[in-house]
Each structure stands twice: as C-alpha cells, then as structure tokens.
Symmetry: C2
Subunit: 191 residues, 2 copies
DNA sequence: GGTTAAGCACACAGGGCGGTGTACTTAGCA
DNA sequence: TGCTAAGTACACCGCCCTGTGTGCTTAACC
C-alpha cells in the first residue's frame, strides 16, 4: 500500500540514500552556499530522513568534505579530452566552460569554512593543483617554453574570472580569455 | 573612582562607541569572516555594550554594509598616489601590496552574504569598479593603447591572486605580477 | 548644579542549526 | 518464513546567534 515512487532499479525510494544526499549537496551547497544550507533542508531535498543522513556521514563537516572530494570535474576535464582541438585551442576552451558555473565551489568553500585545516580545504587545494597540472600538460603539448608557469598563470586567470564574476555579477571570463590568448602567444615560440 | 581607561582625548572609554565598533569590525570580520563573528564577540572587542551597538546600527546587516562602505582603501590608493614611481611602476606596485591582506574583503563578503541584493554587495561592486577605474587612469597615463581594457585586466589579476592565495594558502601575487608585466609591455607601444 | 544624551550591565526571548533517541517499517535474502 | 540491514518519522536537546527590555551610571555642557 506504499505510495513511494520506485526508482529505475525497481527499489524503494529509500534505497541509495547516500547518493541522493551527495546529489542534493551538489545542488544546494552551490546554489545557497554551505553555511546557508541546513541539514533539515538538505535531507528534505534528498528525500532522506535525517537519521539516515547521520548514519552515512558522522557530521556535516564530513559531508562537506565528501561533497568537495567527489565534485564532478567532468566539466573541466571534458575540455582537456577534446581531441578535435589543438592544444592551444584546448587551453583557450577552458575559459568558455566555467561561465555557466556561478563560482568555483572550492573558492566558496575556502571562504565559508574559513579553516585551512578543514579536510575539505585540503581537497580544494588538491583540485586547484590538479587543474593547474592539467593546464601545464596541455601547455607542454602546445610547445610552451615554461609549461608549469603557463599552467599556473592560466589557472590564476580562471580563478580571477570566477571571483570577479561573483562579485560584479557580470561575466568576467571573456576578459580572462583575452589575457590567456596573449600569454599563450607569448609563451609558444612558433605561434 | 572609575577605573576605566582614558583615551587620548581624555574622554571616558565609552565615548565614540561607533568608531570603536567599526574598528573592531575591520579586524574581526577580516580575520574570522562575517558569519563567524558574533555580535557578542564584536562588542566585547570594541569595549561596547551590545545595547549601544544596536543603537548605532539597527542590525548586523547594516553594520556589515557600513564596514564595507567605509573599508579603508588607503592601502591601494597609496600606491596610485606615489609620485616617485612612473605610471608603469605604479601599475606593477599594485601587486606588491595585497600580499599582506589575506583576501579582498569584498570577495569574502560576496561569498558569505550570498545575496547580490544585499546593500553590502552593492558597495563591493562599487569598490571593484573604482579600483579598475584607477588602474585604467594610470594605464592611460602610462600611454596604453586601450587603458580601460588594461585596467580591467589588471583588476582581474589582483582578484585572481587574492582568491588563489586564499585557497592554496600560498602567495599567488608574484604570478599575477608576472602576467601584469607581460600585459603592460604588450599594451604600451613605446615600452 | 542640573539636565540631557550617551553608554553600561544583564537578562532573556525567539529562532535556527547540528545532532540524537526511539520506535517503527520495509526490502532482500537464506 | 524469519532474520537482518537499510530507511523512516518525529520529537527532542543543547548551543549559539541576532535582537530587545529595563534600569542604572556617567560625561559633557550650559
């Protein structure tokens, strides 16, 4: 006599609570921020009882850490995997994507959590370094003089565009892309 | 028989509460963040009773707005006023200063308040635009081809360095300064 | 010296949040 | 069919936070 909806697996709504919690986190933490999203609201959105949530994650901090660790990087990695683009085009394409995303969740998390020792802050650093490394790889592929430097510079541009977009409420990625074009042309001997 | 300390004006500690509140805000909001700083703590630091604080500011939001509106921009404006430097040197000097400041308080406020309609968010936008305008002025003075564009670009670099410094817990301003040097040299015909 | 504005001390209301306790229900499996 | 793991519903605790009410004290100025 249950009126609960059945998922694609044919299981009861309740099954797979952990994934639904993480899914709701992705949405709510980004839209509203971490501190402004209470566990009550999050559980309601995930269609999960609060008790269950605290059986999967011992605390909200742990949930936040997992949310950042598991942050879906397909948006950015998708750019690096596009074989139809030249390395130079791939570097520039990195500035087209994030315009849709309001602000890099790692920057927001670093501000909101405000504790460099927080496990989530560690994941944020890891992610930032990983992005810079991938940019450096592509820069090397493009034949840049100093790929590490260029990768770090491009990563800084992305973060700057993200932060400025957030504060000014206006897309700053075109400006960043223009700078990137200059840097890339300066760093690649042949052009 | 009062044991209260006397200030330089000879007045009782209690006088000038508003200024002390704003002063404590400057320190605590920056060090701990806005949301993590309670009014109790702030009043204690300002040596002001809570009741008095709420007579000067009807709400914490109003205090936050005033804190941002009154944010002391001498650090940055001091750079622009240095007549001993060439315009080009002044543009580059803008990347030496903010290393001491943990993160531009406006970026932090935009994340913490999370509401573009918040009056403080308006002040944040005003400040960002003002900085970009001053950079553009100096760029024009330096003979740049497109001063507005260069000013916007340099402002983005500053924000990027600030954000990245915060997340990575490592000074990113040298990287930003290196990019700035490239942009400036590219934008000024004579060099 | 008396008036007035500014400030103080302190308790407390009201609400939200993180987190827990308890008793019940369901799905899957042997 | 009966056991177990997963989930549910819901009340509840304690904490902290913003904001207020009340009565008292002090400084400044005429």
């Amino acid at each position: 006599m249950t009126e609960l909806e059945k998922g694609p697996t044919g299981r009861r709504r309740g099954r797979g609570a952990r994934e639904r919690i993480l899914g709701a986190s992705q949405q709510l933490f980004r839209e509203q921020g971490i501190n402004r999203t209470g566990m009550d609201q999050l559980c309601a959105a995930a269609e999960v009882s609060k008790r269950t949530a605290y059986q999967h994650f011992t605390s909200k901090d742990e949930l936040v850490a997992e949310y950042l660790r598991r942050f879906d990087p397909t948006v950015l990695s998708g750019v690096f995997d596009r074989t139809d683009l030249t390395p130079r085009e791939r570097l520039l394409a990195a500035f087209d994507i994030p315009a849709t995303t309001p602000l890099c969740p790692y920057i927001a998390a670093a501000v909101e959590l405000h504790d460099p020792q927080h496990p989530a802050s560690q994941y944020a650093r890891d992610y930032k370094k990983a992005v810079a490394a991938r940019l450096a790889d592509t820069a090397r592929e493009a034949g840049a003089d100093d790929p590490e430097q260029l990768g770090e510079q491009l990563a800084l541009l992305i973060d700057g565009a993200a932060a400025r977009t957030r504060v000014l409420d206006a897309d700053a990625f075109p400006t960043a892309a223009a700078i990137a074009a200059v840097l890339i042309d300066n760093a690649i001997p042949a052009g």
